[in-house]
């Protein structure tokens, strides 16, 4: 198992998501950046749904008690193994007593820590993904223990994959949402001719943007929302729902992010710029 010596800013355990309960109001949860999580899992030949740690902004300090193999992918958070810098997108062998820690955030926002065979925490409603109140906690805490199956005989087929430049992009591919037609010319212009800044209010539930559109007085009946649904509030605020977002909503759904753009947005932090590019 791993013992958590420091929890970091927001470190949560996630798998591919909790599917099949949206009609009862349960968000899908799961990893925010599926692309990075799959990179980390595939280096260890894990299943794509194996549970890993999603580490946000400031990393935890973790002590391993059994041998295993790990891989990191996503943000660069200056990872260190026993104080020595280690790379992301690489397989690292772990011995009992090893300590993984993190330093400065250099790019992106979320890094994924995959472990050989995946974390073996309890599965609730067919998923290990943390989401309160479905699970008791929404993130890991100091002194917590995270179980995994020890492994000392893995021969990786590839030791590392090339770093990607995906995170540098700032264009989000979007489709017209169900209420796209409610936008007036001024709002349309406001959406597509400038860039937006990620607001301080950004988390696994939703990302808000600092710039607003002109107010929108249209009311609608509550209807389904998805990860990547872009809502416009009556005051003109833009809210992009993410994987822990509510499953229904009453604000007009003006845009819908492509699946790939959800991964990209998951690596954006307060102050970063994004643009919407419409796909027809």
């Amino acid at each position: 198992m791993i013992s958590v010596r420091k929890s970091g800013f927001f470190t949560t355990l996630q798998d591919a998501g909790r599917f099949g309960y949206r009609h009862l109001g349960v968000p899908v949860s799961g990893v925010m950046d599926r692309y990075a999580a799959r990179r980390a899992n595939s280096l260890l030949e894990n299943q794509k749904g194996d549970a890993l740690l999603e580490i946000t902004m400031t990393g935890p300090e973790l002590e391993f008690h059994e041998p295993t193999y790990i891989a990191l992918a996503g943000a660069d958070m200056s990872a260190k193994l026993n104080g020595e810098s280690i790379g992301i997108n690489e397989v690292h062998e772990i011995e009992p007593g090893d300590i993984l820690s993190f330093g400065q955030l250099k790019k992106g926002l979320r890094v994924y820590l995959a472990i050989k065979g995946g974390f073996q925490t309890a599965s609730i409603l067919n998923s290990r993904s943390f989401y309160k109140p479905i699970t008791e906690m929404n993130r890991i805490r100091e002194h917590m223990e995270l179980p995994y199956t020890p492994c000392d005989s893995y021969v990786p087929k590839i030791m590392q994959v090339k770093p990607d430049t995906f995170w540098k992009r700032n264009q989000l591919q979007v489709y017209p949402g169900p209420e796209f037609d409610l936008l007036d010319d001024k709002q349309l212009e406001g959406l597509f001719v400038r860039s937006f800044t990620i607001a301080k209010e950004n988390n696994r539930m939703a990302y808000q943007l600092e710039e607003h559109l002109s107010p929108n007085i249209h009311s609608m009946l509550t209807s389904a929302t998805l990860p990547g649904t872009v809502q416009l509030t009556p005051a003109g605020k833009i809210i992009i729902l993410m994987v822990d977002g509510q499953t229904t909503g009453g604000y007009p759904r003006i845009l819908q992010l492509s699946e790939g753009s959800i991964n990209l947005l998951a690596q954006k932090k307060h102050g970063d710029k994004i643009e919407f590019v419409i796909q027809k």
Binding site: H23, L24, L125, P133, Y175, P178, A224, L226, T247
Partner: protein, 245 residues
Amino acid sequence: MGAFKINIKPFGERAIIITWPDRVEEAILEDIIDFKEHLINTAFPKGEWELVAAYNSLTVINNLNNVELDKYEDLLIGAYQSKKGSQPATRWLWKLPVCYDLSFGIDLEEVAGRLQMSVKEVVHMHTRQPYLVYGIGFLPGFMYLGGLPKSLEVPRKPTPRLDVQKGSVGLAAKQTGIYPQESPGGWNIIGNCPVPVFNVSKDPPCFISVGDRVQFYEISKAEYDLHQIEAEVGIYRIEKKEWHD
């Protein structure tokens, strides 16, 4: 099925949204629920697909792959127009106990004052009719109930409370409902239901579905305590019967 004009649109890469006329109406929701059941039993099985019904829409989501509307539009239209082979979905009326004791109904006296009724009359009006579940969302197990009498309409509280107790039964404008877990909220709290409507140790975690009906009945504080213990140990049986129009 097939009685209304429906509109089919893509909703991103993985979903399709079907909308009915834009109004709150029992017949519309019934039609959506029948159509949803039909789709689950035919071309959109659970697992690969998730279907979310609410008020005047049905959202069909694929959990594995991108969906192209061109491939499904005719299938959906055809399925909606053909009435044969589709059994109307079974609907249930659930009777849920609510304790309107003032220790739970912390806004009940204020609500009664606003409505110019006695507390007893508010409780009577609230328990008199079944409510239709138009949607479940916002929080896991949170039901959007329709059919509140006009005489019980009160505005939501000007400042939301930070922690509304689990099981709280509230009133706000045209809506009434139960908070399935502790959460912030701006509804006027008039009572508490001791039986959890959402329980993660059960699968499915919520026994009520969109399209079902819910009717509240009044219980005393002593019965509340008893039902709470019964629910905790798992021996409480919720009263239900099949609903027919």
